[in-house]
Subunit: 309 residues, 2 copies
């Protein structure tokens, strides 16, 4: 799947992932009203609204981008109906040829991580058959429990030819509280980065590993160091745009082959119609606003990051 | 809810939580066969089997124990049908008067943690109404992203009078890989413990905080230190029994009031009938074996931990 992701990035010339994190506040009134009329002003109605919202955005952008990253929390908050909308979104995006990165940030002790890995990337055995649960292409993984929390994911990645992105340095303001703590003069995130590199060596695709890393756009100096620590890890970069990360700062996340990083934008794309810049589209044409925002983001990355040209 | 947990622990004289982590391999054949006959040998059938298995164990043990801890991964691996079984389990345990600790180990950047908190502990707004998604009483939270990943959970805990257990030192063999790293001579888990104490001060129940901690039974010396670092945090202790933690080692996790810790056992209880010790019950009476295993666990804790008598 890492090979497929790299191919799709080359094909689209767009190291971009659209974060499908549909807060209900982003969904235009006409979509919500229709969903509530159909399913009720309840969890089912909310789930229907975010699904219709996602579908329109995917339809308007899938030809421009290699991948999407649905954030499962935004679905999970609506209980079972929300989880159904998550699954529908994953399936639909795959139908449209997109690589799907499930932003699930799971991680637990060995046997439990195995269940997550099986449920999100692999197949679970039931009697003499086996079945996919959620069936994303990649998932994000939290490393706090160490190797035996991560390796079950890698095992399933090998079986299924799928991948993970391990949280190394997250984009949020307080990520440094624990991640930046110095251990013998070296920050914790760098130790995690070294482990990502080590884990990744056992699971190489053609040019990059099945084991990638999350490094926030908001910490470009750390991105520069981590690029060197994990040369074969694809870096998933959240925090561009709405969270403050700028294209000009992202050059060090890429390798000289113009590859090695994929930049996520969520709010900046899916709620583009709410920005002054795209207000002309109006809520009715929110998906066209998202398309324009994707085009502008690709242009922003290409014009600021030399290695992409 | 922390007050209710403490009351229930006093009432049962049992600082015990039963981990409802139903691997399909633990479910007796007759339960699986009936479920597959009814729903098919597929995800729905598997979900039905684990739900019936849980229900029987809860029915056989709820009068002895204060709380249960369903591990969501074991449900999530069966996709949507599994999530429905999780929700049914949570609801049923609450009907039986049990405190429900959702072992979800979630944690993300602020706005995303808020969605998890709302979905698992609070209510999500849809139009002019609001709805509970999964509605556990407590959840476990991963601290790797720092304060702004944890505080949204605390906000919802304050609104709903519910609680969290933050992962501090986990029970698995490789937990030390990052958690034990020394920072100015002090291990990372101790820094996390200090933050748990700090976060907890803003959210006190009568005698303990809404903010508890996870500290594995397999590391009793660290448990002793962490007990002092976080005097007002209830400690959820996984790793007893099957993972190797012994009752005699758990005294330091408790305070002098005989409270302050609650010990989890999953496999040792729910799959008791598979142990030689309880083989006489046979698969047909697996739930009775679980009841006996709970009685024995309570006795083991009481006879080894002075403060409980």
């Amino acid at each position: 799947m890492i090979n497929r992701l790299v191919d799709k990035i080359k094909e689209t010339s767009a190291p971009v992932v659209v974060g499908l994190d549909p807060m209900l506040g982003y969904v235009p009134e006409h979509i919500k009203n229709e969903a509530y009329a159909q399913k009720g002003e309840n969890l089912e109605g909310a789930a229907e609204a975010i699904w219709e919202f996602n579908k329109a955005i995917v339809d308007a952008t899938y030809d421009l981008i290699p991948a999407v990253k649905p954030q499962i929390a935004m679905y999970e908050q609506f209980g079972i109906p929300g989880m159904i909308a998550f699954k529908k979104t994953v399936d639909y995006c795959k139908e449209k040829g997109l690589v799907v990165i499930g932003d699930i940030k799971r991680g637990d002790i060995g046997s439990t991580s195995e269940a997550y890995a099986v449920g999100h990337l692999g197949k679970v055995a039931v009697g003499s058959n086996s079945f996919y649960g959620f069936d994303e292409d990649f998932v994000t993984v939290n490393p706090y429990l160490g190797s035996d929390g991560v390796k079950p994911f890698i095992k399933v990645c090998n079986e299924e030819k799928k991948g993970i992105f391990v949280l190394v340095k997250t984009s949020n303001p307080s990520s440094g509280e624990f991640q930046d703590r110095l251990i013998d003069g070296k920050p914790l995130y760098e130790y995690v980065g070294e482990m990502v590199d080590k884990w990744g060596q056992e699971t190489m695709g053609d040019s990059y590993s099945y084991v990638g890393a999350v490094v926030g756009a908001t910490y470009p100096k750390m991105g520069e160091i981590l690029r060197k620590v994990m040369p074969k890890a694809y870096i998933l970069v959240p925090g561009y745009g709405a969270q403050g990360g700028k294209a000009a700062d992202l050059a060090p996340y890429f390798n000289e082959d113009g590859l090695g990083a994929i930049v996520n934008s969520s709010r900046g794309i899916i709620a583009a119609y709410k920005q002054d810049k795209y207000a002309k589209f109006g809520p009715e044409c929110f998906a066209d606003a998202s398309r324009q925002a994707v085009i502008d983001m690709i242009e922003d990355l290409r014009s600021n990051i030399k290695v992409l040209n």
